[in-house]
Amino acid sequence: MPAHVTPPAPMPKDVYYFGTCLVDLFFPDAGLAGMELLKHQGIRVVFPQGQSCCGQPAFNSGHKSEAREVARAQLNAFPEDWPIVVPSGSCAGMMRVHYPDLFKGDRDEDKAVAFASRVFELSWFLVHVLGLDTKLVDKGEKVTVTWHGSCHSMREMGVVDEPKRLIRALSNVTLVENPREKECCGFGGTFAVRQPEVSAAMVADKIDAIEQTGATRVVSGDCGCLMNIGGALDKAGKPTKPQHLAEFLLERCHGR
Amino acid sequence: MSSARANILARLRAAPKVPAPERPDWQAQGFNDRLDRFRMMLEAVHGEVHVVTDETWRAHLRKVLAEKNIGRVLAAPHLGVDWDDQVAYDSPVEDFKDQLVSGIDACVTTTRGAIAETGSLVLVPDSDEPRLSSLLPPIHVALLKAEDIADNMAQIMEAQGWAASMPTNLLLISGPSKTADIEQTLAYGVHGPKELIVLVLQ
């Protein structure tokens, strides 16, 4: 299932950035941080203004034709043969793993297959293409953080250790792993409102486990999880702050 | 009923045909010291392994039975088990059931071999050692020749040609009867033997 096999060769000069709809409205600073990290490595980052959403909300709700039309708009918004870097394992998984099936038998099937093969999750791209884990210079204060791995990032995109490699590369950061790191936080898109009580129980356990690490920050690569975990931490009055990995790295290394 | 058969098969045959995939390669484990692996695996599931020889096993068995205060032993006469209070399973279960269910303390059976990987005995019950012998008495003593321990199930199945002539019943036994149905706590002897003792003849 891990979707990534080999980094694009040769090293790309230009990359596309797909910000995701959730980041666009709620976490634009996290999105921008990812773009800045790429730019700092000398890459030209192109952000097509015609992009919107990967289509996953409708796809997972069983509304495939609506999902397909929204996905088609993305196929058209990223015409050049450049890598498409995504600061979300879940949206990346939708595009990388599910687009080929979503467009099976469709006039744009070939386009969708080619598009899917160009999709990369941000932390994976930072580590395997840019080698950022060997280049990071930590300028921040001492801090203890914990990592939350998103389900789709781990299980659809095969991104498990990359984000932690980046965090461990920061000299003043102590990473305390949560023994239930791989357990779903209970977001699940519409699940959170279709099964609110089960979702609430899951996120309650998640924030308990995070609190037990003693971390002052919980870092993740998916804003869906961060919205869920962060909202629950906030409502419960817990001091731990949620932060996207890109924003965290940028803040530590380039001060922001 | 035959219409049910015809209907089910017709529905299955009407379904889209997909090519049958080939079986990708997978190798079960092999072991330098099969007895060692067998012993480790069986002991891990509460079985006992005693290494003996053709000459010593009867005396050793006698000692084990005495230590465990065994009364009546079930064994096929041709085994020559050295124990006074001994019965044979020499009539159909219908006539032997009462004794078998509650009147026997231990049984001794042979084995067809064993599997090192999982610590499993292979038993093929026959008219000398019927199916219930290894199941109803609280203690099961099994005789195993060391050279009959195979690496894994695939190997022994192939070597002994199981597929060509499956007996009425073929058993793999890996330890005493157990359950973890109450709070994941292991308890032995829930229905079958509480103890499994393997005498390996070397």
Binding site: P196 | I8, L9, R11, V18, L132, S177, E183
Partner: protein, 473 residues
């Protein structure tokens, strides 16, 4: 017990004892399984083999069923075919009646649960006694299994101790597990000795040899299939494997995935009734092959993968939803992720349409499934069949989840998100005005029960990218 998943989940979530029982049990099972598959390369090769064996058997299913029937019949096993659970119940009853059987001792069988066989037999004057310890316990409690491998996993030993004291003559209250187990052994041994028939399921049916393969730890399965004079097995038609040597890799997967055991205590291969000269074993062996919707599932190439399941329960052990709400919340015989895809297909989306939505699609089940069933993809497929049915006739109750309001919402969503100009206007409006939406608004109300309201950022990433001078093409 509530009528749908949400209300049953509400009850379960508010039962701290139940939640503690499941959490402890699932944590233990996950740890034990992980220890069995530390070598990732071997695990990947093994599960690929397991998946291929089951896929191969399914691809050849009608032929293998016929081959199995021919071999088993030649061995003296009487094979019956049942299209529905009603038919299967009737067949079992007829066989029992023809032998004058009044008491059946049962080994653990999920298919017999699917048939609700015990109730059917009781209604016709035949007593069915469960002999698997877990099944015996829940039979005493008058409950259904809450897990396919560990049926009484929802109970703690205090509850079980009380059940035993209330139901077993002269049984003092004790929470000692060995003492409880010994008490059950004594009661059930008498039941075995006096049973007129034994009933079991089957884990695998081997076409090549006409054999039934049953695995278990307790020995009650062996007793049920050996001591009474009559043995009746019930099994789904998907249990077929092609060759006897297909059993080895599947056995290397099933117990390790289920309970983290290298192998079960007993692997019981039955190929015929008692032969002349043999001293024990049933004089007749019957096998009832049950369809009950499986051939309909089979008609769809994607959904067919559901039938690979070898009932190890790893998907439920690793499911963050199951581990919090327990098996009874699913309201069906098969709980957890496999139940979420199997039940709506067997019973129909019109009967169990809420199940495919009771998942975050976290893929934890997919990661551990020993036969690589794409559970998450099938969940999404079933959601789609409910909302906007395809041409496939494989899903009963397709379209039953269609809602005009919901469809209109998604059409509206598409109108905004598939059109860059509309998206630009829409997101600009939301980023400015979105925070005015009250927390009590539909959907937000559920969200904000345990979380604060998400905050619109004021400027979108689209705006920030333009302001920072990022190229558009």
């Amino acid at each position: 017990m509530g009528a749908d998943f949400s209300t049953r989940a509400h009850d379960a979530l508010n039962n701290p004892q139940l939640r503690a029982n499941f959490r402890r049990a699932m944590d233990g099972l996950m740890t034990k399984r992980a220890a069995q598959f530390e070598d990732q390369d071997n695990w990947n090769a093994l599960r690929a083999r397991g998946a291929a064996i089951k896929a191969r058997a399914l691809a050849r299913l009608p032929d293998l069923l016929e081959e199995f029937e021919q071999k088993a019949s030649a061995n003296g096993i009487i094979v019956h075919w049942a299209e529905t659970t009603e038919d299967a119940n009737r067949m079992v009853l007829e066989i029992l009646n023809s032998h004058g059987a009044k008491k059946v001792i049962k080994g653990k069988s999920m298919v017999s649960e699917e048939m609700h066989l015990n109730a059917h037999l009781e209604a016709h004057g035949i007593r069915a006694v469960e002999s698997d310890l877990g099944e015996y316990i829940i039979q005493l409690a008058g409950e259904a299994p809450s897990h396919i491998v560990m049926p009484c996993i929802h109970k703690n030993k205090g509850e079980i101790a009380q059940l035993f004291t209330d139901n077993i003559d002269n049984q003092p209250y004790t929470e000692d597990v060995d003492a409880l187990t010994a008490a059950a052994r004594q009661v059930l041994r008498r039941e075995f000795a006096s049973a007129d028939a034994g009933l079991s399921g089957a884990n695998f049916l081997v076409a090549e040899t006409g054999s039934l393969v049953l695995i278990e730890n307790e020995g009650n399965g062996r007793l049920s299939t050996t001591l009474p004079p009559l043995h009746i097995a019930v099994a789904g038609i998907e249990k077929l494997v092609e060759k006897l040597d297909d059993v080895a890799p599947l056995l290397a997967l099933l117990p390790r995935s289920a309970t983290g055991q290298a192998i079960t205590t007993y692997v019981n291969m039955i190929s015929s009734p008692r032969k002349p000269g043999e001293k024990d074993g049933p004089r007749q062996v019957h096998l009832v092959l049950l369809d009950n919707g499986r051939s309909r599932v089979y008609a769809d190439e994607q959904l067919r993968d559901t039938l690979r399941c070898i009932r190890c329960g790893a998907c439920m052990n690793h499911c963050p939803v199951y581990s919090r709400v327990g098996g009874h919340t699913y309201g069906s015989v098969y709980p957890g992720p496999i139940g979420k895809i199997l039940t709506p297909q067997l019973a129909g989306l019109d009967c169990a349409g809420d199940l495919p939505h009771a998942s975050t699609l976290c893929n934890a089940c997919v990661e551990v499934c020993p036969v690589q069933i794409p559970i998450a993809d099938i969940l999404v497929r079933l959601r789609t069949e409910a909302a906007e049915p395809s041409a496939s006739t494989a899903v009963k109750g397709a379209g039953s989840g269609h809602s005009a309001v919901e469809s209109a919402v998604w059409k509206g969503w598409q109108a905004m998100y598939a059109n860059p100009a509309a998206y630009k206007i829409g997101t600009k409006a939301l980023s400015v005005l979105g925070n005015l939406i009250p927390a009590a608004a539909p959907l937000l109300k559920q969200w904000t029960s345990v979380r604060t309201k998400p905050k619109f950022a004021g400027k979108t990433l689209h705006q920030l990218a333009r302001e920072k001078g990022y190229d558009n093409e």
